[in-house]
């Protein structure tokens, strides 16, 4: 499948059979947008807005591939209707988010909207989609507002909120015996929310935050901060970094010899999917996440094997989130037997869904944010191994949501 991705077909038909019969209709529906095409023959349009270029490109492709895999497992039918995908590269550019969302909603008249990765893109997207737009499933973006102030009946999230990335970290570190802690994070919306959530649990539990060191996003020269960190001599440090920044941070941290005296913790992205790039430097780093590659449940094992077979690359948390997004849409469409007009019923089916996700049990809160177990993991031999469950059924406070 990764081969296929490289070819870069944007409007992708995953339908194996019956394509010919519906293709003409689908083509027509682009030109003459019908508000709701009901009936078993009309295709369900799923709009995908994910980054396929730039720093977040890998996340985007994994999410998409896993979701498409879930649909393929279900015979490429949603409630009995074939699917048509409209796939757009978000480039992770907030400035374009609105425009691209508009394209999916107004021009393509999609029934479902899946995306994005980037929180800021997510906010712009959700702002347009909420209430009257298509059913929207967010497979990654973690900004609290998406299921907080911006929450809406038609907006779901299968990933996490930043709160869920920070809050479980506090008790976990206390339990590990670290009370004097430095907080380091990329100084942007998401990083700040993670840090704030961490403080919310850590300080009341008896921990002390010696210093907060917000570092400029998305810059990766950490040397000066690490020197400062060394001078502060904390027990441990809780961090939020992702992607290239995470690789660099973990490596610099190890190279500065800090691993011996300061324990490194972080939101899961610190080590997620970066094993090859981080190498030995990541050994022993503990992170908080709602997933681990090595989770020993049958769903996960089956999922990982299938994903590897389909795409040639290893599944990660993003793939899981994409897979669950596919599952959630399936649940909704199956509940209404493909009748996208039965919106309220579909939403009810989706919000009450209980999913056996590769990550474990997955439910949804009243604000449509996932409720799931959050694990404390440690990198052992390049693999994120589960140490213990850090928080059972971690919820999100959904601050500001009125729905």
């Amino acid at each position: 499948m990764s081969e296929k991705n490289r070819k870069g077909i944007t409007r992708r038909d995953f339908i194996v059979q019956g394509t010919v019969a519906t293709a003409g209709l689908a083509a027509a529906s682009i030109l003459v947008p019908a508000p709701f095409a009901i009936g078993a023959q009309a295709k369900v349009k799923v709009g995908i807005l994910l980054p396929y270029t730039g720093t977040y490109a890998k996340l985007g492709t994994n999410i998409r591939d896993a979701m498409l895999m879930r649909f393929a497992e279900a015979g490429n039918k949603l409630g009995g209707r074939p699917i048509e995908f409209v796939d757009i590269d978000s480039e992770a550019k907030p400035a374009k988010a609105q425009q691209l969302t508009e394209k999916l909603i107004k021009r393509e008249n999609v029934d479902f909207l899946v995306g994005p990765v980037h929180s800021v893109v997510g906010m712009a997207m959700v702002k347009m989609a909420r209430v009257s737009g298509p059913i929207t499933v967010i497979p990654n973006a973690g900004a609290d507002q998406l299921t907080g102030a911006l929450c809406a009946p038609n907006v779901f999230r299968t990933s996490f909120s930043s709160y869920q990335m920070g809050y479980p970290g506090g008790p976990a570190m206390i339990e590990d015996g670290h009370k004097r802690v430095v907080l380091m994070y990329w100084n942007y919306g998401f990083g700040k929310q993670v840090a704030a959530a961490f403080k919310k649990s850590f300080v009341p539990a008896g921990g002390t935050i010696i210093k907060e060191i917000p570092t400029p996003f998305p810059k990766v020269d950490f040397q000066a901060y690490l020197t400062e960190l060394a001078a502060l001599k904390p027990d441990a440090v809780y961090t939020f970094y992702a992607g290239g920044g995470a690789v660099k941070f973990v490596k610099d941290f190890a190279a500065a010899g800090l691993k011996k005296s300061i324990k490194l913790y972080g939101a899961g992205f610190l080590t997620e999917g970066l094993g090859a790039a981080q190498g030995d430097a990541a050994e022993g780093v503990r992170t908080i996440l709602h997933y681990a590659d090595s989770l020993e449940n049958p769903v996960n094992q089956r999922f990982r094997a299938a994903f590897k077979a389909a795409t040639g690359s290893n599944a990660d948390v993003y793939a899981v989130q994409g897979y669950d997004a596919g599952e959630l849409i399936l649940r909704g469409m199956n509940a209404v037997k493909g009748d996208t007009g039965a919106r309220a019923e579909m939403i009810r089916a989706m919000e009450t869904a209980e999913i056996d996700s590769p990550r474990g049990k997955l439910r949804f809160s009243a604000s449509h944010n996932p409720i799931h177990d959050v694990y404390l993991r440690e990198v052992v031999k390049g693999e994120n191994r589960v140490v213990r469950v850090a928080a059972k059924a971690q919820d999100d406070p959904a601050t500001g949501c009125s729905m």
């Binding site: 490289r6 396929y52 270029t53 730039g54 720093t55 490109a57 890998k58 492709t61 060191i213 917000p214 570092t215 400029p216 998305p218 810059k219 990766v220 020269d221 040397q223 000066a224 901060y225 690490l226 020197t227 400062e228 060394a230 001078a231 001599k233 992607g243 290239g244 690789v247 660099k248 490596k251 610099d252 190279a255 500065a256 010899g257 800090l258 011996k260 005296s261 300061i262 970066l274 090859a276 790039a277 981080q278 190498g279």
Partner: protein, 289 residues
């Protein structure tokens, strides 16, 4: 904070300055000598890092990767000069800005086609993998010292080539009077193509050296692009000495800025640049053109 803290920070600042110099030196070469603004400079840095990753993976040796990567980078530079840049020498800066801006897009996409979107790491070669204790809980990686040493070597090498060799004399002469150099029997077009390729190779070399400490990821070039421009402009275009001073200044300001005025850290280098240009409109060591 105690004195040792500031000493370590000073070390960080100098080391960062060295790396900046390495990246910016290729830029200043072209800037000053050929009058070309090359926004794609960061892309060449990225190409270098990816070459280091790819060739290390292929050959199993970081050193071999550098050895093989440099000629590739030179070749890339030569092609870019021949097929794009060489048309722009007599044109307005505007077109250079635009063309090299487009080159960024092209290189980003080529990188993605060739190497995909994963974040990669390059393992530090065995002999440089150790570290030297600095304070009771902090040590300094040998590899970083190696980078500094390599930068000093490059700086000295560039100084030597530019100041002491006939090639360097021709390059400097070409900067001041292109036509006269031609009239003395030197093929200026080839000279310029070479200088451009050399600049590309320098940027790529910086990317290769940085690959083991930095990670290798899409769009990594743009992080160094603007800052190396700031370095070059502060120093005064075309002055190797200026670039060195500029790199050190930025290293110091950005490192100590992070420690002392963290909220302003990102803005500070730009403010520094604005102040320096207000004071000296052609940079610290620049000539009025």
């Amino acid at each position: 904070m105690e004195l040792s803290f500031y000493l370590v920070q000073l070390l960080n600042a100098v080391q960062y300055g060295f790396l900046l110099f390495l990246v910016a030196s290729g830029l200043t070469l072209r800037f000053g000598i050929m009058g070309i603004i090359n926004l794609a400079h960061g892309s060449f840095y990225m190409v270098g890092a990816y070459l280091a990753y790819w060739l290390t993976d292929l050959t199993g040796s970081f050193w071999l990767a550098i050895l093989l990567g440099l000629p590739i980078a030179l070749g890339v530079g030569y092609l870019v000069e021949r097929f794009a840049i060489s048309f722009l020498y007599q044109r307005d800066h505007l077109y250079q800005v635009l063309l090299t801006f487009a080159l960024i897009l092209v290189f980003n996409e080529l990188q993605q086609i060739l190497w995909g979107t994963d974040v990669h790491g390059v393992v530090i070669p065995e002999i440089l993998a150790g570290s030297i204790p600095l304070t009771d809980n902090q040590s300094y990686p040998v590899y970083r010292l190696f980078i500094s040493a390599a930068c000093i070597a490059i700086a000295c090498g560039m100084y030597w080539v530019i100041q002491k060799t006939r090639l360097g004399m021709m390059i400097r002469a070409g900067a001041s009077n292109r036509e006269m150099v031609q009239a003395l029997g030197i093929d200026v077009n080839r000279l310029f193509a070479f200088v451009f390729s050399l600049g590309v190779a320098l940027a790529a070399f910086a990317g290769m050296l940085a690959a083991p400490v930095d990670s290798v990821y899409p769009g990594m070039g743009e992080n160094v692009l603007i800052i190396s421009f700031v370095v070059v402009v502060i120093g005064g275009t075309g002055s190797i000495k200026g670039t060195f001073v500029g790199a050190m200044l930025i290293g110091l300001v950005s490192t100590f800025g992070k420690v002392l005025l963290p909220e302003m850290a990102s803005i500070m280098v730009y403010a520094l640049m604005a102040i320096i240009l207000l004071w000296r409109p052609h940079g610290l060591f620049g000539r009025a053109v």
